[in-house]
């Protein structure tokens, strides 16, 4: 691994050079305080001063709805139109780590060609960030990156330190090496270390993930799950915004006037009712409480047991998205016996009061 230095004013010239042969995706402002990843041509749209995009960058690799293939009775034609050369620039550490988890998911027993082909053609250019009150990634140890990136940019006062994480990343630098320089001074190193220390201290949200697998096991029949189920709107938002959620549904879209169908793949969410509906109309998880238990078991237990780390990268998206405050922070804290202030809690108290009346 090599670290080089890039002057701030050389960033856009560098992006210019590397985006000649690939689509450049970067964070842009969509609302006053919310950003999204977008394929940009006009670099002035890029806004690196962002917290978290509404939907994580996995949507660039597998969009919410894609056509998988067109089938007739005895032929089928695959559609890989989403596979193209892409560079995602400006991804924060949590999301880089989430993509590492995604790479594993879609490559378990079988390779998922729609994901892996898109992934093989995509370069990941990470970017340093500063936590807000919802960032949990220090607790999940995903606030730093050790793998999964081609380049990673750490912003200092007048320049970036750029970590080269892969040979493809190195190739990008080599497209115009004159933009970079290698003489990183002692002062630069000290500035970086100070910045890192300050950032470590800036995290506000925290939960202890080590205990989570045991707590989920011990509290599997806790009334907590029914309380959550009572308040949950089953809107699926927590799942759709989570960078490590990967479930999808496949359905037929028959073509009128042709004996053929498009086979469409779309994101699915285990928090939605129709997720667990099977042929014949049976549903194995009709109860919202059961569905939430599944989601949290996945995030906080199953993955930890298997890989020694949670399937949560602490991005905080569920925290800013759930209308009734059911999120990894309020659930995690409640599991560890802490008091939390959340709508789902207040709602359950209110309902109990009314029943007593």
């Amino acid at each position: 691994m090599r670290i080089v230095k890039l002057k701030k004013e050389n960033l856009f010239p560098f992006l210019e050079v590397i985006s000649k042969e690939a689509d450049l995706w970067a964070p842009v402002k969509k609302y006053e305080d919310k950003h999204v990843f977008k394929a940009v041509e006009d670099f002035s749209e890029i806004d690196l001063d962002y917290q978290r995009t509404i939907i994580p960058p996995r949507r660039i690799l597998l969009p919410p709805k894609t056509n998988m293939f067109e089938a007739t009775q005895n032929t089928y034609k695959e559609d890989f139109s989403n596979v193209s050369k892409k560079i995602i620039f400006g991804i924060h550490a949590c999301d880089v780590n989430a993509l590492v988890i995604m790479d594993r998911f879609y490559n378990f027993a079988y390779d998922d060609p729609y994901y892996t082909r898109a992934r093989e053609n995509t370069l990941i250019l990470g970017y340093s960030c500063w936590p807000d009150e919802h960032c949990l990634c220090k607790s999940t140890n995903t606030h730093i990156v050790t793998e999964g990136y081609d380049l990673f940019f750490s912003k200092l006062d007048t320049h970036y330190l750029v970590w080269i994480g892969s040979s493809q990343g190195d190739d990008l630098i080599r497209k115009q090496p004159s933009l970079f320089n290698e003489d990183i001074s002692d002062k630069d190193i000290q500035t970086y270390l100070n910045w890192q220390k300050e950032r470590e201290d800036a995290f506000q949200a925290e939960i202890d993930f080590i205990d989570m697998p045991d707590l989920i096991e011990l509290k599997y029949n806790d009334p907590l799950w029914e309380e959550l189920g009572k308040a949950c709107l089953a809107c699926g938002s927590c799942t759709n915004v989570c960078p490590t959620c990967n479930c999808y549904n496949v359905y037929d879209k028959p073509i009128l006037g042709k004996n053929a169908s498009k086979i469409v793949r779309c994101w699915d969410a285990c928090t939605l009712e129709n997720y667990s509906e099977v042929a014949g109309g049976e549903n194995f998880r009709e109860n919202r409480a059961d569905r939430l238990k599944l989601w949290y078991t996945h995030k906080l237990q199953a993955y930890i047991s298997k890989y020694g780390k949670p399937a949560c990268v602490g991005c905080g998206r569920c925290i800013v998205s759930c209308p009734v405050d059911i999120n990894v922070l309020t659930v995690g804290k409640t599991l560890s016996g802490e008091k939390v202030d959340a709508f789902w809690k207040r709602f359950n108290l209110q309902v109990k009061k009314e029943v007593r009346k």
Binding site: T53, R59, L233, A234, S237, N240, L256, N274, F347
Partner: protein, 260 residues
């Protein structure tokens, strides 16, 4: 070849005719629709209609007269599959607001006076499943093109749609919209059937619920949430009832009880 096509009838009861119009408005696909099916009856589109046995009847509109009850029962008898299309047929429409029959009678007298209807007797507006068995529901006010074409093609090919539906929030998130409800705006997305493409939220307006109520929507929780956010309870109730027809009657009754 001709007689292997499924026989279809498209009917309109009381409504704005928007759903039938939407089918006609599928201009690009219209030839394919008429080629793929044997459209026996479609008053808005043609005059040589035949009222015989059908494979599939698509029924728009709510039931508001005794004559319509008879018409509907006749359609059911002649059809293997009956599909309710549009908000009026699926839930009763905005005209099904007065749930208490006594209140409805009073309102009726207030508007029309004591006149005697000779043509047919009016009844309180109800969705078509108040009188007949319905096999499938295609909601919307009016129904959406994309959803209609997928549904229609699937049913023609004997591949009927899934039972349970998603809320508007799903497509809203696909479109990467900022959540209005989270920001304190009264959005009915979580309680409303998906299918419109989250079109209102795409334009930064909250969902008013026009695709009709999601059967298993958690109304109680959202009601308390909105109350906590400071909305007037009558306002919340009105908003929730607006496009729900007769389908959330028991929930509204519960709220009445709570008030007392």
């Amino acid at each position: 070849m001709e007689n292997s096509k499924l026989k279809i009838g498209i009917y309109e009861l009381t409504g704005c005719a928007g759903d039938a119009l939407l089918i006609l408005d599928c201009e690009k696909e219209l030839i394919d629709i008429f080629n793929a099916a044997d459209i026996q009856s479609f008053v808005m589109a043609k005059s040589d209609n035949i009222e015989g046995d059908l494979d599939i009847a698509l029924v728009e509109g709510s039931v508001t007269t005794e004559k319509e009850i008879e018409e509907l029962k006749d359609i059911r008898q002649r059809s293997k599959i009956v599909v309710a299309i549009g908000l009026c047929a699926t839930v009763g429409g905005i005209q099904a607001r007065f749930l208490d029959p006594k209140e409805w009678n009073e309102r009726f007298k207030k508007v029309y006076g004591n006149i005697e209807m000779t043509h047919t007797k009016p009844v309180q507006s109800k969705p078509i499943d108040a009188y007949i068995d319905v096999d499938f529901y295609l909601p919307g006010c009016p129904i959406g093109k994309e959803q209609f074409l997928i549904f229609f093609t699937r049913i023609l090919k004997g591949n009927p749609p899934e039972k349970s539906q998603n809320p508007v929030c799903v497509t809203c998130k696909y479109n990467e919209n900022d959540c209005l409800l989270k920001k304190g705006i009264l959005c009915l997305g979580p309680l409303t059937e998906d299918g419109c493409g989250a079109i209102c939220i795409n334009h930064n307006l909250p969902c008013a619920g026009c695709w009709g109520p999601l059967k298993t929507g958690n109304r109680t929780s959202e009601y308390y949430l909105l109350k906590e956010k400071g909305f007037d309870v009558e306002h919340i109730k009105k908003k929730m009832a607006n496009y729900s027809g007769t389908k959330i009657a028991s929930f509204l009754k519960e709220l009445e009880k709570e008030k007392k």
